[in-house]
Symmetry: D3
């Protein structure tokens, strides 16, 4: 009998109970090939979806998946058993997904709440609109080189925008702000410089993160930890600008915006913001990060109540969601 | 012969030289009635305009002006003499101005670079547009009660917007930002609450400042120093809201926005911002203040150069004005 | 047979063992009505006394107590059973207490170590002794309005005086200090203002706390979290003073003492203390809080030893209790 | 003719005008013997009183006073001349004072506003009252050894109690407080230990200061700068206690009180206060210092006004003196 | 049959499995004599070695070891049983070790990785080489008095050099540095003073720690907590110097070096370093501590990787061990 | 008559008196060509040497020197006149120096107290000794490109090593330390990496400073202010390493050492030191800077005394120079 008969399909892992059969798409959180006392190969593994994970065994499994496949999306099926009073999966089928598999990635890993293609299109259109040809060229060159990563990666390991396309969403949100605010302070703000700074401010994160196969931040890379994303981004922007023959003054300004966007040395800025665009960039970054933390906290905070947890990035406070006006 | 013949009219004080005759409108910076050894009354005074000031004497002056008139605009005429190697005015005419005098106030005291009537109109129109009737009512009530002061006073004693109509300009600038940003974060921001918070956030300053006749901040008032403008504003907003029967939740939110708008206790906030509108209000305030500091610093910083002085409110840095792109 | 025969009466919960019968007064820590698989109503609950708590079941219980009764004192009886290797109560009787029940509240919730009536009498007598009629009137008006709460509530959620009548005990302790110190610094201290400030400094806590039925602080109220007890107290004192026609200078001083009593902005003060009474009030508050932390820590620190735990409010140190002199 | 005929006697130096003759007691602020071009000896000197000082010359002066006599009280007489548009004294008489001279020291150097003998008597009586014989013995031994210095020296170089007998006044003020507060917290405070700590807490200052002949703090001594008065005091108290055979526990407690009396390492404490008496001592010290700063600031702050200067030790605020109640 | 037949000798505790017999030298981590329900005496105890510990019972044990023997090295033998699913030792032999026992102490308690005798010899030789007879005499006197403790004790309770002979190793490492650096800055550094300061800087720790029988730091002593090792060391050095008639200037300098070696008050320094030798001593201390933290962290950090844990004393970072160059 | 007859040659400017004739080598501090009312060209200028400067005029001067020559060494002669009661030079000769002029540069600008050629030779020899070919190659390449600047420039604008060849002296001093300390901690320190880091740590200063003709730091350059010398140095080292094909790991480590050498973000570090060589580099930098501050302070601090001024970089203390041992 096919194990998928009567099986719960794509069920949330936390809803599975001993005795259930299951099949569906999951994240292969970890995988360790092993050998029984009797010398037979098997797998220790963990499957995960957005809200939970379960340990499992695949007996008599001899490949092709190995420890290197951890972090991939898989199709799996089998049965729910019990081990030490807790549910454990016994698998009879396990393979990596490919393009022909149609499933909702957002069910197994966190994904931005907006459409990635649209956001990417918006970012590109906005960069095309920069009136300064030098700043425009640097941005488009960096986008060209980094497009895939830039569109896919999270904005952070934790704190805010820690989901697929998060960096893209953060960048798009900041560009929208920058466009609106540049209009309000035309005496002091050069729109092209500000928007270029917004686009470039976190590109160093693409080198700072070491990501899993699916694009999630596994950890910081060596470069990320030893050099920091401000330095990495400024070095990359500088090299792109020099390759395009951008004047030294403008290259320096782009690098200044990147190096100062954390606002103060104690928050990680390499230098204080010293031009109006750098100052505004740092504020815009703060606003978009914090509004996103509120959006995320609202997910489990009903109107008229405080969040159950303190939010680290919001001064470590429990935040309040105002009651809805009737 | 009339002393005003051949007199320089409304001349900048720093351009006057011994021997000149002068007449025009000035600020009466200080005035002390005195008596000569021979028992005759005279005045020691100082006249000022935007860029300088000069000491003066008015011999045989018996009134009506007294020490209480310091800080007023006056019409004055006389001659420039020399005392201890420095110029000193000898007056033959001095009177307070009234409505019939037509002169440019901005020549003798610092004034906002935008039209006060237009800004006030914009603020009022924007408050009329609040969809929440309660928040709208509180704002309009406070505006009604404080209109004159609100339209006239500076935004601060020093630091930023320290000129006539400065508070109005600061409020208008923040409302424009708030209107733009509320659109960008509709999931977390209630536009009515945010804009009401912006309008009310500094009303406590109207009680915090003790102003000169012409509206400039002479010093902080007793209440300002002992209670602070955050408390004063929140108490005033609360009493206005209660008088209008606004629900307690909304009154509390308005007060929270006012009390938290300095962002952190170490910057003077009574509480941390704990709702999204409070957080955004604090950021908007920061942006408008700092963009104004850049605007002001640009006045004597040529493109491609650093400011000559450190700017206290901008991390005490010398700020850079980017070279103009050609 | 009556279950209370042979039952241990008012036994400490931690002394109960499986097989014991029990009856007595306890705190109903939590209560959740539920239904068995067979459709019968029962209660999941937890009883508590000063030193421990136990889970329990009341089978076939259909009311009248509901989840809303958590936090009340109850009379309960039943038997001690075992569930998952731990004791669990099986109840056969459960009711709220009323005035006719005579029992020692201090056995089930923490209570101040001094007599509440005597302390309240002392506070009231002391307020009557203020020579300044305005300050006296404000204090007595606030006391009148808040008497019951003021006499019952703890002084804090944790840290110090976190027991019934704690605020009263803290206030009385501070008044005693204030009375003694006002005598020592007559050149700079107005006794009436100082003592009024002492009495009023924490009245905002009455609105800041949201308390359980028995008067213990469950959590901070919305107002407490969004406005803070300094603001709430100063607003309340101001409104009481204005209702009594107290001169503005005195109202302002009372508000200043309340708003500054945490000493520094980074400790939560709205403004720095700027008059001698405000300074002294902040010090007196510190002394009484810290002496109480020592008193509490001594409960399980023998002479000649250090406390077993670090005391957060005493610089997070393990504190030393000197050996007794013989 | 005797120069003292018609001379203004003990006149304030700032009241002297060219042409006046003067005689009286003054502070010899500085004195440098010199020689004229013609080879004749003379003195350059400065005389001072509480509110001013004047330069002077004593022509043809061959001794006995030398540069080593700076900082002494002198009797001087002579004439007021003019040098470079400013008054300069020409002396005809100058000698050190001795016991037979009767004059008000407080007119030429700052002196505590209370009677030193009475304060010293109070301190000694209070030490005699300590019930613990060990603590009493240590205090009396240190007092015996240091009596003269202790009674004479200021409490600080600046900040507070910076006048003759200042340390005595500060100690007496703190003992009065300690006596009152020990009564209020008998559960945690050992009166003998607390009062002994109060008496000893600043004895290290006697070695920390290097004082002028008249007892004023000229500067910190080498030991004061390199070891600090907390260490110096604790070492001295420890050696006194060991000489008296005081038990180690008590010696250690006395040293702990001295070493911790600044409250926190960042304020100069060697260790945090870790027993109740140490904690209370630190608070009492703070109160007495700050009340004295208020007392001093009131000298030129009228009721209902703010001090003209910021007071460094009071959070660098301008402090407010409440209006007198009528 | 002798229980030691077939027994695993000196086996690592974590390698023992139920059913094994064992014998060998271990640390007696804890020991509580008890009595069975039947009235028979037995021991509850825990044996430990460097990497693990196990609970055990010794039935029918009536002495001579008691609770006071915790922290000693013992010879033990017995069997490994199981209790509540975990291994538990059943002992049949247990005695304290004495000089005749030959075993590797480093297998059961952490020991410095260098030979203690050689290090002690180096320290003593170096002190003999001080050209200043006074500084040399003070050091040798202190070494004489404290030799055993100084050679045995750890350098700290945690953080760095927290193993037997740790203080000796730290001192030797610092002396080597000091000797090298004194050569490089001969204009400002007095080698004798610097090296004496190095030797004396932590002698206060010998009184600050309360150590176990084997020399490990159990906890801080009362004096350590209430007075701190900087004070204790400076007082001890001062008394040694005075006993030897060392000039006051030199005594003061030695005390200054000890009191300032933590660099800043917020790191525990009593005073800031104010002479070049004090400054250099503080830096040398920092370097030796931190290099040791790296050495210790390398133990489980392979080349080319980050440490698994954050290292508190290294700015709480995960530290990187560079890849080996090939 | 030739003006140089009887002229004081190379006299210190502060020793010149009205009426003197002078000739010699000086620093041309400033120079402004001007025109008299009568239309004749002349120069306003200032000459300076190490201890002073004087204003001067050169009448009827038509070139060739212009405002662009400020900051150069010149030969000048003329007469000392008086203008407004102060000395003013009247020049009759003024020309730039060239190689043929032999004079002591150290008399007119501050110069390191050691021989620059010897120090440069030492640095180069040491770099040649690096066993790691990659690190050696990067250092030598950077030295080659920057040799002249590196040998000439000061180490800072103020604070320490603020004289010609200061950076070279600082680098040589640190290399000597590094060489000694690498030997002492061979388990954790790679000598090649450490010494390469020392050499490269401040190369960013060569771009950070904008220097005068003679090599003194006039001000920070735009890049210096907007990007900082840590970023500039790391970018330069990275580009040199990549040009040489150095492995990425080593390039990253060199950049890490440069970016972290200020120790903490609040002191300007881009990242915390996270490898042992980075940690040690930061300490070595601190030591060499501070020992130099002591050396400099000793210049006007006699033995047994405190410095007259507080030294900003030494915790803003007045530092003590120990009395000489006899």
């Amino acid at each position: 009998m096919d194990s998928r008969n009567n099986a719960k399909k794509n069920a949330e892992l936390r809803s599975l109970a001993p005795g259930d059969r299951f099949c569906g798409y999951y994240l292969l959180k970890s995988i360790q090939p092993a050998t029984t006392a009797a010398g037979k190969p098997y797998l220790n593994l963990r499957l995960a979806d957005l809200d939970g994970e379960l340990p499992g065994k695949f007996w008599d499994y001899a490949g092709p998946l190995t420890a290197a496949d951890a972090g991939q999306a898989v199709w799996a099926s089998g049965r729910v058993d019990t081990f030490q009073n807790a549910p454990q999966l016994t698998l009879d089928n396990l393979r990596l997904t490919d393009e022909k598999d149609e499933f909702d990635l957002g069910r197994i890993v966190p994904v931005a709440p907006y459409d990635a293609q649209e956001m990417l299109h918006y970012v590109e259109q906005t960069l095309q609109s920069l009136s300064d040809a030098d700043y425009r060229a640097v941005c488009l060159a960096v986008l060209e080189r980094r497009r895939e990563q830039f569109a896919l990666l999270p904005g952070a390991k934790a704190m805010h925008h820690a989901f697929l396309h998060g960096l893209l969403m953060h960048t798009a949100g900041m560009l929208r702000q920058a466009d609106a605010l540049a209009l309000l302070y035309p005496d002091v703000i050069d729109r092209s410089l500000l928007l270029a700074g917004v686009f470039l401010h976190d590109v160093g994160k693409l080198a700072e993160f070491s990501t899993t196969e699916l694009g999630l931040v596994g950890d910081y890379s060596k470069e990320g930890q030893l050099l920091g994303h401000l330095f990495l981004g400024a070095e990359e922007a500088g090299s792109a600008a020099r390759a395009l023959g951008v004047p030294a003054e403008k290259t320096m300004l782009l690098q200044h915006l990147i190096l100062s966007h954390h606002g103060k040395p104690e928050f990680g800025a390499v230098v204080y913001p010293k031009c109006a665009e750098a100052e505004l960039l740092a504020e815009i970054d703060m606003i978009d990060s914090r509004m996103e933390m509120y959006r995320a906290a609202f997910a489990d905070t009903p109107p008229g109540q405080f969040s159950r947890q303190r939010v680290y990035g919001l001064n470590n406070c429990m935040i309040y969601r105002p009651a809805q006006e009737e």
